[in-house]
């Protein structure tokens, strides 16, 4: 029989990379910026975290450097979209391609070597798993209960109004993009430093795109992101676990489930918008729009 507690522990580990990346992207999008470069920032984090952990022998230092590298590699995107007014979708895609190529290039010296093993935290789970879980209430509190969070949301909802009130729209967005990069970097490093213990080109294998889907699924809330990460991670773990137990399951159908759920949620949101007076989607009003201060 499948032990639900053990399954849940597997789920917590499996969903950690996408949870970090999606929480970061949530903050970025709440500030009104659509950054499609999550995959690129994750892979840069995966490489820099791994290389640091390998050369220093300290895995935690690896995660710190991964966060820094993720934020740094997001900077060109921030400059392009916030100061040079380039298209956010195109710049984000470019960031993904750039990150993948950059990591492949600089990853050559650490191919084939192995990272130090990390000491496990409570319940045999990695400390980074716990950090990810702690980030959920922290980001919820920041967005909904703190003054800087209110400003960030204001910038995301209506950048012209925020500007008129005297807030520095670009600076807020720059900080949000850097934070998103740092979170994606940690998520990527979790794959290389805590899960695989080796560096391989393209090892994030599309996790960044799933993180983007989760933000939409969450309807732009921190708790929704956690639910989405658990759904995506959980379905993967569950179907593998069922197979291992010898239960005959339609693998393809289960693999499709999170994507179908995302579509269902999107439809539900827009239906609510259409048939009730409440506004349905919590998508930030200025999401993906360029901000150019006229006055």
């Amino acid at each position: 029989m499948i032990d639900p507690v053990a399954l849940f522990l597997l789920l917590l580990s499996a969903s950690t990379p996408i949870l970090f990346a999606a929480l970061g992207e949530l903050v970025v999008e709440r500030a009104g910026v659509l950054n499609l470069g999550v995959e690129g920032m994750m892979i840069v984090g995966a490489l820099s975290g791994f290389a640091t952990a390998y050369y220093s022998g300290n895995a935690f230092l690896g995660f710190a450097v991964a966060a820094l590298a993720g934020a740094l590699v997001a900077l060109p995107f921030a400059i392009l979209t916030q100061f040079l007014m380039s298209n956010q979708v195109a710049s984000g895609l470019a960031l993904t391609l750039f990150g993948l190529g950059l990591a492949a290039l600089f990853g050559k010296p650490v191919e084939g070597v192995k990272a130090p093993t990390m000491a496990a935290g409570p319940l045999g789970l990695n400390w980074i798993v716990w950090l990810g879980l702690a980030m959920v209430p922290a980001i919820w509190w920041f967005l909904n209960r703190s003054r800087p969070g209110l400003i960030l949301r204001g910038v995301g909802e209506n950048h012209d109004a925020a500007h008129a009130l005297g807030y520095d729209v670009r600076r807020v967005r720059l900080a949000a993009i850097a934070f998103g990069g740092a979170m994606a970097g940690i998520g990527g490093a979790f794959i290389s430093v805590a899960t695989v213990l080796q560096w391989t080109e393209g090892m994030t294998a599309g996790a960044g795109w799933i993180a983007l889907a989760i933000v939409v699924f969450s309807n732009w809330t921190a708790v929704g992101v956690l639910a989405g990460a658990w759904l995506f991670g959980g379905v993967t773990v569950l179907q593998l676990r069922l197979q291992a137990a010898g239960v005959r399951v339609p693998v393809q159908l289960l693999s499709m489930a999170p994507y179908l759920a995302t579509i269902v949620v999107l439809v539900a949101i827009s239906a609510r918008q259409k048939f009730s007076r409440r506004s349905g989607s919590a998508a930030p009003g200025s999401l993906g729009q360029d901000f150019h201060a006229l006055r």
């Binding site: 990853g107 773990v237 291992a244 137990a245 693998v251």
Partner: protein, 359 residues
């Protein structure tokens, strides 16, 4: 540059490059490779590139090799193959299944250039194929797995339900069962050749089920990393993965394409090359068994090596009857050996494997 200039210059460049093979007549044999992944993938493409280097080491100045890496399967492959052909290569090795139609199309346009396609099944006047009998290696690792398991549960991380993978699962199970009649096989279909995070999840799912030895068909080291954390064992796949030796990686099945490339290039150089379908195993050197480490008891190691040598010598075929299919029907009678045709279309598990085989 306006459109007319562009067309003119493209035409001029094409003429120049078309002339190249003529100049190249007395030069070293030019050998081109296209790879589906990066050379650094540590697995499939890495092993092909090791094979390319083996050709250079063997023939020195008589050959000149080039490669294009990370060429996606599909339309782009045709462009890359044409580029290699126009660059004056005398022989081109296409190292992924999905290049098959592109190879056939481009080969028809360049009848003087020889092509070899890896893992495909379409032949032409100037196109041969080559592939490995990986199930031979799985017989050896299956034997080790059957001897090493304490829980009598071994796991297999499978990729896609295609004949090559099904052969591997069957072969591993048959030989584990032979040395350990109580053994049970758990199969997880990952539906990917390379996705470290998912492979790690698959390994954890198997271990949660009590599996303590894992064979993998996927190409990353993630399952080995998870096995190490729980003190269990597994095998390298596609490449040797020796950085995880002596444990959890106790041995490996890896692809030694160099053995084929050296033979094939040699035949081209002495003019005896023919378009044929090569399906080589341990005996041909294409499938290699990585060093069996000290984590395996000496008598098990000796047993596995004896099996390896018997297969290499052609004295033993891993699919020798009596064998039944999973539905209980007879597949091979006592002493009967599976035909290549049977194997290349294998779509069933042998009796005793209870896992689901997606159709």
């Amino acid at each position: 540059m306006n459109r007319r200039h562009l067309i003119a210059s493209v035409a001029a460049m094409t003429t120049i490059s078309l002339a190249l093979p003529v100049w190249a007549q007395d030069d070293p044999l030019k050998v081109g490779f296209i790879y589906v992944g990066p050379v650094s993938d540590g697995g499939w493409t890495y092993q092909h590139d090791q094979g390319r280097q083996a050709v250079e080491a063997e023939f020195g100045d008589r050959v000149e090799t080039t490669y294009l890496e990370s060429v996606p399967e599909g339309v782009d492959a045709e462009r890359a193959l044409t580029q290699l052909a126009l660059a004056g290569n005398d022989v081109i090795y296409a190292t992924s299944f999905g290049y098959m139609d592109a190879v056939i199309n481009v080969a028809a346009k360049f009848p003087d250039i020889k092509f070899e396609h890896n893992t495909g099944y379409k032949l032409a006047d100037n196109v041969g194929t080559y592939d490995g009998r990986f199930y031979e290696g799985r017989a050896v690792t299956g034997t080790i797995a059957g001897r090493m398991t304490k829980t009598n549960k071994i796991g297999y991380i499978a990729t896609f339900p295609i004949p090559e993978v099904i052969q591997g699962i069957n072969s591993a199970y048959i030989h584990a069962k032979k040395v350990n009649p109580d053994v049970e096989m758990r199969v997880v279909w990952a539906y990917t050749w390379f996705d470290p995070a998912k492979e790690a999840d698959a390994a954890n799912a198997l271990m949660a089920e009590g599996v303590d030895v894992i064979l993998q068909h996927t190409n990353s080291t993630a399952p080995l990393a998870q096995l190490q954390q729980q003190g269990k064992i597994g095998f390298g796949q596609a490449s040797d993965m020796s950085s995880f030796a002596p444990s959890p990686r106790v041995s490996s099945v890896y692809n030694n394409w160099g053995a084929h490339y050296v033979k094939s290039v040699g035949r081209i150089l002495d003019g005896t090359w023919k378009p044929e379908a090569v399906w080589g195993g341990i005996g041909d050197g294409i499938v290699a068994i990585g060093e069996i480490t000290e984590a395996v008891p000496a008598e098990v190691k000796a047993e596995a090596e004896a099996l390896r040598d018997k297969i290499a010598a052609g004295e033993y075929h891993p699919f020798t009857g009596p064998l039944n299919k999973a539905d209980g029907s007879v597949w091979l009678a006592d002493g009967q050996v599976a035909s290549d045709k049977d194997l290349s279309g294998m779509n069933f598990f042998v009796e005793g494997i209870t896992a689901e085989l997606p159709q």
